[in-house]
């Protein structure tokens, strides 16, 4: 990921801090940094969300389009993830520099959502075997400040919650199938993201592990375990990242933490999203930067 230069003394400071459950910014090992979420930020999308997790800033836009169903899944819609590491975030991403990271994030997201209970793809089918909704989820990294996987998964969940798909009426007429789009812009279908996962990254620092590592902490950590955790406390995807390895018993501890943190993260995220949705009409739109 994005490199930060740290001296040995600084590294030791961070490692010892993590052991004593006190991190350089005053957090405990299982605490997230301050997180701000905003939905409906880009009006040209079907749903969008912006998240700011300390210095990490991510914008997600969801667009839905009508497409052909795939022959393997004639009764299902599709969801596709694209991650764009913009050179705004760091000059290293210029050209094809960010491609590897972008692929990793989009693969992890795709794997996390590739599970029937996370998002019901059957509801996205319009005419079986012919037409379905394809949900394009585009993730744009605007600033990197650590925990990119966690932040993007939270932003994706928020954007999907915010997504409204126009309602279509299907009429069969003399062998022809006609699709009619509702005139009412508020006559929309919403996605049920209640059981969608959030990714929790546990970074192994010294003998302990921390959630939501800052960039400095990422520089001291050799191995990370990523877990996509749902509200019910299930894992939909898991992945080890980094050049280090784990002890067998430490993985169990990390899973324990992941479950606890993931479930509470999902719970508070849903609360925020529901309350924001309720206040949506009252909200006075001012501009993108607030």
């Amino acid at each position: 990921m994005v490199d930060v230069q740290l001296s040995d003394a600084e590294k030791t400071y961070i490692i010892h801090g993590a052991q004593d459950n006190l991190r350089e910014d005053g957090r405990g090992c299982e605490d997230y940094r301050h997180l701000e979420i905003e939905t409906s930020v880009v009006s040209t999308t079907s749903g969008s969300a912006k998240i700011r997790l300390a210095n990490t800033e991510i914008l997600v836009g969801v667009k839905v389009e009508l497409g052909e169903t795939s022959p393997e899944n004639p009764d299902k819609g599709r969801i596709e993830f694209f991650v764009d590491c913009s050179a705004n975030a760091t000059p290293e991403f210029e050209g094809r520099g960010g491609e590897d990271l972008a692929n990793e994030i989009s693969n992890m997201l795709a794997r996390a959502y590739d599970c029937p209970s996370c998002l019901d793809m059957r509801k996205l089918c319009v005419v079986e075997g012919k037409k379905c909704w394809i949900v394009y989820v585009d993730v744009l990294l605007l600033e990197c400040g650590g925990s990119l996987f966690d932040a993007s998964s939270i932003a994706v969940k928020a954007a999907l919650y915010n997504t409204s798909i126009p309602r279509l009426t299907v009429t069969h007429d003399e062998g022809h199938t006609e699709l009619e789009l509702s005139d009412d812009p508020y006559d929309v279908q919403r996605l049920d993201v209640y059981n969608s996962p959030c990714i929790v990254t546990l970074s192994k620092i010294g003998h302990s592990h921390v959630v939501d590592a800052s960039q400095k902490e990422e520089a001291c950590c050799l191995a990370r375990l990523m877990l996509a955790v749902t509200d019910k406390g299930c894992v939909t995807a898991m992945k080890k990242e980094g050049s280090g390895s784990f002890d067998v018993s430490s993985i169990e501890d990390m899973l324990e933490t992941g479950k606890k943190v993931g479930q509470s993260l999902n719970k508070s995220l849903m609360e925020v999203l529901v309350s924001e949705d309720r206040n949506m009409k009252k909200k006075y739109m001012t501009g993108y930067l607030r």
Partner: protein, 271 residues
């Protein structure tokens, strides 16, 4: 649009006939006597054939066969890093995982798709902790893994195969890495799943259906790779990781045996 006359003009996209097959009712993965379709018990692993030194031009190579899963791996290097930007005082590993176009039920494309790219990264991260990278500064080692035929557990097989190939190439390592995968079906664990037993989101919607792959360094007892897919509860996940690690330890002598055999043969040839 200019067309290439040397090519036969076919339809722009084609679809495998299998996609139009009626979706079969998912059959139970094991019968009343707890035997799987191929007669194995739930915790029984397919027999392994492992041979090193199969590619004569490469520094090291290995071939692994587990019934229908056939993987070949070649290791080249350490050789100089060509690109200036990639200069590093630590040695670098490069992994390339590829399914041959004909290895699966559906034909694959020549270009690496997302799954293959994902596996390349996972393979790299599984092997990196085992290699003494500081022993070859400013240089890189290339590992090419090709799956000739895929009948399930391809990633696990590739992990084992490529670590043996690295060892065969004489790259200094802390330990070998062995891989094992398992399929979770309810509270059952089916070890070393075949292709039809592997998890796919299409067929299985209940909780605790999924697959887990673990890469373990047996003598250090360190897990260097762990990956899962499908919705799994934490207790089951722990159980699966532990079971996979057990099997990885059992695979260790197989790798050692094939390596010592190849060393003995080498000595015999050179004396």
């Amino acid at each position: 649009m200019p067309t290439d006359t040397r090519r036969i003009t076919g339809p722009e996209s084609s679809v495998s006939p299998y996609s139009f097959c009626k979706i079969q009712e998912p059959q139970p993965l094991f019968n009343s006597q707890d035997l799987r379709k191929d007669g194995r018990k739930c915790d029984q692993v397919r027999p392994i054939f492992l041979k090193t030194g199969v590619v004569s031009k490469a520094q090291g190579s290995a071939y692994l066969e587990q019934d229908g899963t056939k993987v070949i791996c070649a290791v080249y290097g350490p050789r100089a890093v060509i690109k200036k930007e990639e200069f590093s005082m630590k040695g670098q590993l490069r992994c390339d995982f590829k399914y041959t176009t004909f290895s699966c039920k559906y034909r694959r494309q020549y270009q690496q798709d997302n799954e293959e790219k994902d596996y390349s990264v996972q393979l790299l991260e599984a092997l990196e902790p085992a290699v003494l990278l500081h022993k070859f500064p400013k240089a890189q080692v290339n590992i090419y893994v090709t799956v000739l035929q895929n009948d399930g557990s391809a990633l696990a097989a590739s992990i084992t195969c490529s670590s043996v190939a690295l060892c065969d190439a004489g790259i200094e390592m802390y330990d070998l890495v062995t891989g094992c995968s398992t399929r979770l079906a309810g509270d059952r664990l089916l070890l070393d799943p075949c292709k039809h037993e592997e998890y796919s989101s299409k067929e299985h919607s209940e909780v605790n259906n999924g697959s887990v792959t673990v890469g373990l360094m047996p003598s250090l007892n360190q897990i260097s790779a762990v990956t899962s897919s499908g919705e799994i509860q934490f207790e089951h996940l722990k159980k699966a990781i532990n079971k996979c690690s057990e099997i990885c330890v059992q695979l260790y002598p197989v790798c050692q045996q094939s390596l010592s055999k190849s060393v003995k043969e080498n000595i015999k040839e050179n004396t």
